[in-house]
C-alpha cells in the first residue's frame, strides 16, 4: 500500500477516535435541552412543558442512545453537514457558522506565522553567528521575554503603543472590509496587531530552536569548507548553514499552527475578531456541543494536515530524506502522523 494511502487511513482513524471521545465527554457536561428550550426544560411537572421537551428530544435526537447519536452525527459530518446549533432557533447551521468564521482565523494565523517566521530566521542567524557574544545574549533575553509575556498582556502592550499612542495601526477589526489592501480599511492591515500579538511569542520560540540548530550546523566541517572556498560570511550563513538547520523549526511550526487554530481565542476576543476561537468560547459557555465538536474536528484535522505538510517540507529541505529507502526507519522523527 502506498505510504500516502496508509497515512490517510491513519488520519481518518484518529479523527474518528477524537470525535468519539469529544462526543462522549460533551454529554457528561450538561443538559443541552436547557439551551434549546430555556427554563421550560426544567419544568417536568407541567404536561405542556413535558410535551415540548419530548418534541425537542425527538427533533435533536436526544432520545436516542449515545452511539446512535454519534453515528448520526458522523454520517452528517461526512456529507459536510455539521448539524444544528443547540439553541432555541438552531440557526445558523453549524456548517454555515464555521464557513463564515474559519477563514478569519486562518487569515489571522497566516499573518501571525508569516510575521513569526520572517522575524525568527534572521534573528536566529544573527544570534547563531555571534553565539555566546553580547548580541546573542541580548537576543536570548529578548526571546525569553517574548515567550513569557502572555498573549493578553502582549495584546494590551502592542495595542497601547501602536494603536493608541502612535496611532499607527488600526484598532478595530471590521469583518466586512476587504482583505487585500494596504489602508486601515483593509483586513490585512487590521490583522497586523493581532498577528504580532500571536507571532512575537512564536518567533521567540522558533528563534530558540533555530539558533541552537544553527550553532550545531556552524560547527560542521562543511562550513569550514565553504569558508575556505572564499564564500562570504553572509552566504555561508544563509545558503550553507540555514537549510540543514531547519528540521526542528519545521516540526515546531506544524505543532504551533495547530495550536494557533484553537488557541487564538484570547487574541480574537481582544481585537474583536469573530473567528473560530471566539466561536468556541461562546459555544462552550452555552454547552453548544455541535459547534464545539465541529471546531475540535477542524483543529485535529488541521494538526494532521500541517504535520503531513511538515513531512513533505522535510523532503524539500533535505535530499537525504527524499532518497531514503522508505522501508528503513527514519532518522528524523515527526509526530507519527
Amino acid at each position: 500500500m502506498p505510504k500516502a494511502v496508509k497515512r490517510f487511513i491513519g488520519l481518518l482513524g484518529l479523527l474518528t477516535i477524537v470525535s468519539m471521545v469529544t462526543f462522549g465527554a460533551m454529554n457528561f457536561l450538561g443538559d443541552p435541552l436547557f439551551n434549546i428550550l430555556g427554563p421550560v426544560a426544567a419544568d417536568v411537572d407541567n404536561p405542556e412543558s413535558l410535551a415540548a421537551i419530548e418534541e425537542a428530544k425527538a427533533q435533536y435526537h436526544l432520545d436516542k442512545s449515545l452511539p446512535e447519536r454519534w453515528a448520526r452525527w458522523a454520517w452528517d459530518f461526512i456529507r459536510g453537514d455539521f448539524g444544528v446549533q443547540f439553541s432555541s432557533s438552531g440557526q445558523p447551521p453549524v456548517s454555515d457558522l464555521i464557513k463564515e468564521r474559519l477563514p478569519r482565523t486562518l487569515e489571522l494565523m497566516a499573518v501571525a506565522q508569516l510575521i513569526a517566521v520572517s522575524l525568527a530566521i534572521p534573528w536566529s542567524v544573527l544570534a547563531a553567528s555571534r553565539a555566546n557574544r553580547r548580541t546573542d545574549k541580548i537576543s536570548t533575553i529578548t526571546a525569553f521575554a517574548f515567550v513569557s509575556i502572555p498573549s493578553f498582556a502582549m495584546a494590551v502592550i502592542l495595542f497601547y503603543f501602536f494603536s493608541v499612542q502612535l496611532d499607527f495601526l488600526p484598532d478595530t477589526y471590521t469583518a466586512n472590509d476587504p482583505f487585500w489592501g494596504f489602508s486601515h480599511d483593509h483586513r490585512l492591515i487590521q490583522l497586523i496587531l493581532p498577528g504580532f500579538t500571536l507571532g512575537l511569542g512564536s518567533a521567540a520560540a522558533y528563534q530558540r530552536l533555530l539558533r541552537t540548530d544553527m550553532i550545531t550546523t556552524l560547527q560542521q566541517d562543511f562550513i569550514l569548507m565553504a569558508k575556505s572556498k572564499g564564500v562570504s560570511k553572509r552566504r555561508v550563513l544563509y545558503s550553507h548553514a540555514l537549510r540543514p538547520s531547519l528540521f526542528s523549526l519545521i516540526t515546531l511550526l506544524a505543532i504551533n499552527i495547530g495550536f494557533m487554530i484553537g488557541g487564538s481565542l484570547v487574541v480574537e476576543q481582544f481585537f474583536r475578531i469573530p473567528g473560530i476561537g471566539s466561536a468556541v468560547v461562546e459555544a462552550t459557555l452555552r454547552e453548544d456541543f455541535p459547534v464545539v465538536l465541529a471546531v475540535v474536528m477542524i483543529v485535529s484535522a488541521g494538526f494532521m494536515v500541517f504535520n503531513y505538510l511538515a513531512d513533505y517540507l522535510y523532503t524539500l529541505v533535505d535530499p537525504r530524506v527524499r532518497h531514503e529507502d522508505s522501508s528503513k526507519p527514519r532518522k528524523i522523527t515527526s509526530m507519527g502522523m
Binding site: M225, A226, K227, S228, K229, H323
Partner: protein
C-alpha cells in the same frame, strides 16, 4: 614535485609559529614554535599522531580556527604576514583545503556540482553555464564517471572515493597557490587511497602549486613528498628531505612512529611496536623534551631541557641522543641495562626494545 630548472620562490614561511587555545585550565599550546619554509611547486608532508598539532597548525595558517585562539610568531604567505590578519582574501583564490572526511565536509543538502562551481562563480566571474561546463570538465579530470549526471547529485548519493574526488575538484576549481590536504585519504577504503593520493600529486605537479599533506601514515608521505616534517606535542621533532629521512631517522619519535606501522618487506610475523603512552598534555606538558616520557632513549637532561635543533645538511632534528649516533646508542644501552628510562618508562627486554 620540485622542478629544479625553475627558480624557486617561497610560498609559505613560518617562523616560530604558535597557536594557543584559551581553556579553563590555561593556555593550550597546540602549536608551539614551528618554523618551516615551503617552496613553489613542492610538497611537504606533516606526520604525527593524533593530537600532535598538525591539523591545528594548518587550520591556523588557513585562519579557520575562529576567534578563541592566540597566534604568535610569524607566518608569511607569498611575503604577506598572516598572523593576526584576516585571511579571507586568500580563501578560495590562493589557498584551498581538502578535509579528512568527505562526508562531513561536503554540504549534505547542496548538489555537488553547485559546491564545485561556487568558487568559480564567486571568484572567477564565470556565468552559471560556464561554471557548470568547467565543473563537468573537472569531474572528468579527477575520474568521476558520468560527470554531467553527477553534477546534480547530492553527496549522500556518492561513494566515499567519489566524494573525495569531488573535494579535489573543488580544490582544482580554485587552482590555488597553496593546497592543504588534511588526511585526505584517512577515511577512505585502502583501494582508493593510492588513486586519490597519486591524483593529488599529479595535479599538484602539473599546476605548480605547493602542497601540504597532513597524515599520520609515513607510508603516505613516502614517494609523494619532497620534505617530511615530524610533529609531536605541537613541536617539530624532525624535518628532512623525504629520502634522507627514510634513510637515516635521527629522532627516536620518528623511529618509533615508523616501527608502529606495518611494512610489506618486513619478515612474516614481525611484531608491530606501538608507542607506549599517550600524546602529551598541551596545557601542562613535560618541561623538557615533549617526547621524553615515552622515549626509550630518555636521560635526566631530557626531563629538564628542551633539546636544541641540530641542522645537518638540510636534516633538522631536536634531540640530545639522536638515533644511530654514539650518544644515542649509549643512552639506549644504559636504559636497557637498568630496565627503565630516566622518566621511569619500563623497557621489557633487549630484543623487544627498538
Amino acid at each position: 614535485m620540485l622542478r629544479e630548472t625553475e627558480e624557486t620562490e617561497t610560498i609559505l614561511k613560518l617562523t616560530d609559529y604558535r597557536v594557543g587555545f584559551r581553556t579553563e585550565r590555561g593556555l593550550a599550546k597546540a602549536v608551539d614554535g614551528v618554523s618551516l619554509s615551503l617552496k613553489r611547486g613542492s610538497t611537504l608532508a606533516i606526520v604525527g599522531e593524533s593530537g600532535s598539532g598538525k591539523t591545528v597548525l594548518n587550520r591556523g595558517v588557513m585562519g579557520l580556527l575562529g576567534a578563541n585562539i592566540i597566534e604568535g610568531g610569524s607566518a608569511e604567505f607569498q611575503g604577506k604576514e598572516l598572523v593576526n590578519e584576516s585571511r579571507q582574501k586568500f580563501w578560495g583564490i590562493k589557498m584551498a583545503m581538502i578535509f579528512q572526511d568527505p562526508m562531513t565536509s561536503l554540504n549534505p543538502v547542496m548538489k555537488v556540482g553547485k559546491q564545485v562551481s561556487e568558487p568559480l562563480r564567486l571568484h572567477q566571474g564565470m556565468s552559471k553555464k560556464a561554471a557548470r561546463e568547467r565543473t563537468i570538465e573537472l569531474f572528468t579530470l579527477v575520474g568521476i564517471p558520468e560527470p554531467a549526471q553527477r553534477f546534480n547529485e547530492y553527496p549522500h548519493q556518492l561513494s566515499g572515493g567519489m566524494r573525495q574526488r569531488v573535494m579535489i575538484s573543488i580544490a582544482l576549481a580554485i587552482d590555488p597557490d597553496l593546497l592543504i590536504a588534511d588526511e585526505p585519504t584517512t577515511s577512505l577504503d585502502v583501494t582508493v587511497q593510492k588513486y586519490i593520493l597519486d591524483l593529488l600529486v599529479e595535479i599538484q605537479s602539473k599546476s605548480d602549486m605547493s602542497m601540504i599533506i597532513i597524515t599520520h601514515d609515513l607510508g603516505v608521505a613516502r614517494g609523494r613528498a619532497d620534505e617530511i616534517m615530524v610533529m609531536y606535542g605541537g613541536r617539530v621533532m624532525e624535518m628532512a628531505p623525504a629520502e634522507t629521512l627514510f634513510q637515516s631517522m635521527m629522532h627516536p619519535y620518528t623511529e618509533a612512529l615508523f616501527s608502529s606501522i606495518p611494512r610489506l618487506n618486513d619478515p612474516k610475523h614481525t611484531r608491530l611496536k606501538p608507542i607506549e603512552g599517550f600524546p602529551p598534555d598541551i596545557v601542562d606538558g613535560p618541561q623538557g623534551c615533549k617526547f621524553a616520557p615515552r622515549c626509550k632513549y630518555a636521560q635526566d637532561i631530557c626531563l629538564t631541557a628542551h633539546p636544541p635543533e641540530t641542522i645537518d645538511n638540510g636534516h633538522a632534528y631536536s634531540c640530545f641522543f639522536p638515533v644511530g649516533t654514539d650518544a644515542g646508542i649509549q643512552a639506549l644501552e644504559s636504559n636497557e641495562a637498568r630496565g627503565f628510562t630516566a622518566t621511569g618508562l619500563k623497557i621489557k627486554s633487549k630484543s623487544e626494545a627498538i
